[in-house]
Amino acid sequence: MRVLGFACLWIVLTEGDVSSAFLAVGAVASAAAADALLNRGRGVGPLSALRVIRVLGRVPLDSVKAGIDVAIRALRPSLPIRPGLVRVPIDVADPAVRVATAYLTTVLPGTVCVAVEPGGLRLHLIDRRRDVGAQVAQVAQDLERALRGGRHG
């Protein structure tokens, strides 16, 4: 699965140039070896490809929304921000899912994750009156389903 991913990336990088095929074996193999060394015993289990695509597919849209949101706040003369820190609990056991959630939260409008803690995330809000708990919980749930698709059904 990983090897397939690396191979796809290689093809994209080399623009499908066949002359690189010989080297491709070596490069993909060494990347996979590095991956195996670093991630020994940390497999995330079978992925649910459809759900992964659904989660990742939202990234560009969220990014646009978030960018517009910040741009408006930065450019408005009144500077409408009320920054603050909150702690958001998320109910997932797997640390990998927590980290992935942290990354996605940073792409969402209004939130930047500043720390990953055992029981949840530490978020910085550009407008602390907003309640983001439900939104983050939803992201975490989606991710868990995507990454643990095989187990939770």
Binding site: L9, G67, A71, A74, V107
Partner: protein, 93 residues
């Protein structure tokens, strides 16, 4: 037509870079500035990459640019996490 769309994307990207930089200057504290960095600037980069992709009109190039954008996105989120953690630790050790 493609050129026109490309130009629109690139100019839009520049606008967000500008907004991000203004945010970097105007926002009162470091953690807020992270928002400008991780959101406006990333969107700016994404739009410029999209513009270049449209301009090139090549699927593989477009995929390559997507790789660039995703890498930059992941990098800035990591950096935000690092800075954020350091700031939080400094304020409440």
């Amino acid at each position: 037509m493609a050129d026109f769309i490309a130009a629109a994307f690139i100019l839009g990207g520049c606008f967000f870079f500008l907004a991000g930089t203004v945010g970097l200057l105007r926002f009162p504290d470091t953690l807020s500035r992270l928002h400008a960095l991780t959101k406006a600037d990333n969107l700016g980069l994404g739009l410029v990459a999209a513009g270049v992709a449209v301009h090139g009109g090549d699927l593989v190039i477009a995929l390559k640019l997507l790789v660039v954008w995703v890498a930059a996105l992941a990098a800035s989120a990591t950096v935000a996490l690092l800075i954020g953690r350091a700031m939080v630790e400094r304020d409440e050790p």
